[in-house]
């Protein structure tokens, strides 16, 4: 059924408004499986709102399909069932849980995670928990966040929180991945590792939507770029072409220079 041609994510005419403020005025985009699509645009253009709309964090109108299946909007948790995972612009980890524990909560293996299993089926629960910890360690290692394994969220550095959050979604082996500014707060080595990671994920068939302000990262890792401005799609195309577009350059006055372009 699930032919590889099925798009990981299809967004059609999605609209979001906060009272009288229209944050998204009808945006459409497609993320094919195995590809990385970059989503960029000036501050406040609606990039995070798009991810929030897809994951039910904000109320939205329009049509969204994940892995070919239509998604009921404004219902958080629906997208997760279709193998979609996201990260947050401000990384969110639990302050009282360690890095490993935070990552474990993202694991899809639900065995031994009930009250009755905790008391009456302790052997099985213990075995499942060992599997989760093993995978969590591997995921943390993969994102380069092993140093945060035994540190609680409350005392993690900003960068560590980002990496732990990334590991928490990766451990679920998502088919669609929405990353909201994953490079913010990372150092150059970590950004290089992130670039490799995203490329690898796409090679594994994951559809990635990457929001970022680092133009070099977008150019190197994305197959396509979508530029938003004031809740509308300004332009879409191959990375190299997009930056030549006059209106994109105008929207990005100042920021292009910061990025060294």
């Amino acid at each position: 059924m699930n032919a590889p041609e099925v798009d990981a994510l299809e967004v059609k005419d999605v609209k979001v408004h906060f009272g009288g403020v229209y944050a998204l005025k009808g945006v459409s985009l497609t993320v094919p499986s195995g590809m990385c699509v970059g989503l960029t645009g000036p501050n406040g253009s609606g990039k995070s709102t798009l991810v929030n709309a897809v994951t039910g964090v904000v109320d939205a109108a329009g049509e969204v399909r994940a892995q070919g299946t239509p998604l009921q909007l404004s219902r958080p948790g629906r997208a997760a069932r279709l193998g979609l995972r996201r990260t947050y612009q401000t990384p969110r980890v639990h302050p009282k849980l360690t890095g490993i524990e935070n990552v474990c909560t993202g694991h899809r293996l639900m065995a031994g995670r009930s009250a009755s299993a905790a008391v009456f089926r302790r052997m099985r629960a213990g075995a499942a928990e060992r599997d989760r910890r093993r995978d969590a360690e591997a995921a943390l290692d993969r994102v380069g966040g092993s140093a945060a394994a035994d540190v609680t969220g409350a005392v993690m550095t900003y960068g560590q929180r980002r990496l732990v959050e990334l590991a928490r979604v990766l451990v679920a082996e998502p088919r669609v991945l929405l990353l909201d500014e994953p490079s913010a707060g990372l150092n150059d080595t970590e950004v290089t590792a992130l670039r490799t990671l995203i490329a690898d994920l796409a090679a594994e068939g994951v559809g990635v939507l990457l929001i970022d302000h680092r133009i070099s990262l977008l150019n190197e890792v994305c197959d396509r770029l979508v530029v938003l401005e004031e809740g509308l799609k300004l332009h879409e195309g191959e990375p190299a072409d997009v930056w030549r577009h006059d209106r994109v350059r105008a929207a990005y006055i100042g920021e292009l220079d910061d990025a060294g372009n």
């Binding site: 964090v57 909560t105 639900m110 009930s114 960068g159 560590q160």
Partner: protein, 335 residues
């Protein structure tokens, strides 16, 4: 890595084991040497430990504020009294706990769409409703005058007519509840609850079954509260609906807040401190109510994270002091 984790698990089990042995020794000493008064207060402490552990899981770990404690405890108590007329006390205990759990699940299922605040308000009404139904269901509750004598749970180990023996069984039951609470607190389930409580959207988007988790936490609360009701009925020969009012829920809340959260030890400490407090303050005569309130206020303000929080802060402080000057401790790596 794995070996250190395994050893922390073993250490937690050892701590639980030795803690339970101490707990049982205390119970045995009280049973052997205590007079009627001490036995009565200690029985109440055992009941409160069970109430507090159950409430701590649903409130502190899962973030559901439930005021239905008294109603659920009454259901357990009168359920037990009724079942015990028709079957052996031990089976009546299981039946009453099961019935209270089902009742709790039904309450939570009916209110699952409410926000946390509205559920808290609804739970006050539901708790009151259970008591009203019980008062009017005279064959079950004996109406306003109550029912009794209620047979004691003995497991065939003690004399059901003797206060010390009946107390010892209640103490044993509370130990079982503490052990179960400890296993629950250390589980992957409790970790999921914490995420759903504090990072709801994030848990949801990571695929956690938040409704199931919250229902389970409420069922655990109902089961523990039902057990506490059974213990009340078993240790007191006579039960009346008047002893199940909203102040029960408030008292249990205070125990849980005072003890601290995150571990089963918190609610146990809270129950151990709060239960004898009114007795100790009896000396203040007509001022005892006020002294009780002011004492609580001071303690709660001074200990925002409860006794456990104070202990953890003390340990962190002591550890920092014990690190020799000159040694640099590196925590984590990434800048």
């Amino acid at each position: 890595m794995t070996s250190t984790r395994a050893s922390t698990g073993t250490r937690a089990n050892t701590a639980l084991g030795s803690g339970l042995v101490c707990y049982l020794v205390v119970g045995y000493v009280i049973a052997a040497g205590g007079d009627g008064y001490l036995l009565t207060v200690a029985s109440l402490a055992a009941v409160n430990v069970v109430l507090a552990v159950g409430f701590s899981i649903v409130y502190a770990q899962s973030g559901q504020f439930s005021f239905a404690t008294a109603g659920l405890a009454a259901a357990g108590a009168f359920g037990y009294a009724w079942f015990a007329k028709h079957m052996p006390a031990e089976i009546a205990l299981v039946a009453a706990v099961a019935a209270t759990t089902v009742l709790g699940l039904a309450i939570r299922l009916a209110t699952i769409r409410l926000s946390r605040l509205y559920f808290a308000i609804a739970s006050v009404a539901v708790g009151g409703l259970i008591t009203i139904v019980l008062v009017n269901w005279e064959s079950l509750s004996g109406g306003a005058s109550g029912v009794g004598p209620v047979p004691a749970v003995t497991f065939g180990m003690v004399d059901g007519e003797e206060l010390a023996g009946v107390f010892l069984i209640a103490w044993l039951l509370s130990a079982v509840a503490v052990a179960a609470g400890s296993l629950l607190y250390r589980s992957a389930w409790a970790r999921d609850l914490l995420v759903v409580k504090d990072l709801r959207h994030i848990g949801q988007n990571d695929g956690l079954p938040i409704r199931r988790l919250e229902l389970e936490a409420y069922a655990v609360h109902a089961a523990f509260t039902g057990l506490a009701g059974v213990m009340l009925a078993s240790t007191g020969t006579f039960i009346s609906i008047a002893s199940f009012d909203i102040s029960m829920a408030l008292q249990v809340l205070i125990m849980v807040v005072l003890g601290g959260s995150g571990r089963v030890l918190g609610p146990v400490i809270g129950a151990a401190v709060i239960t004898p407090l009114p007795e100790i303050l009896h000396g203040a005569g007509k001022w005892s109510g006020m002294v009780y309130g002011i004492t609580l206020l001071i303690v709660l303000v001074a200990l925002p994270d409860g006794v456990l929080g104070l202990w953890d802060r003390f340990r962190a402080w002591a550890r920092a002091r014990l690190v020799r000057p000159g040694t640099v401790r590196v925590e984590g790596g990434s800048p």
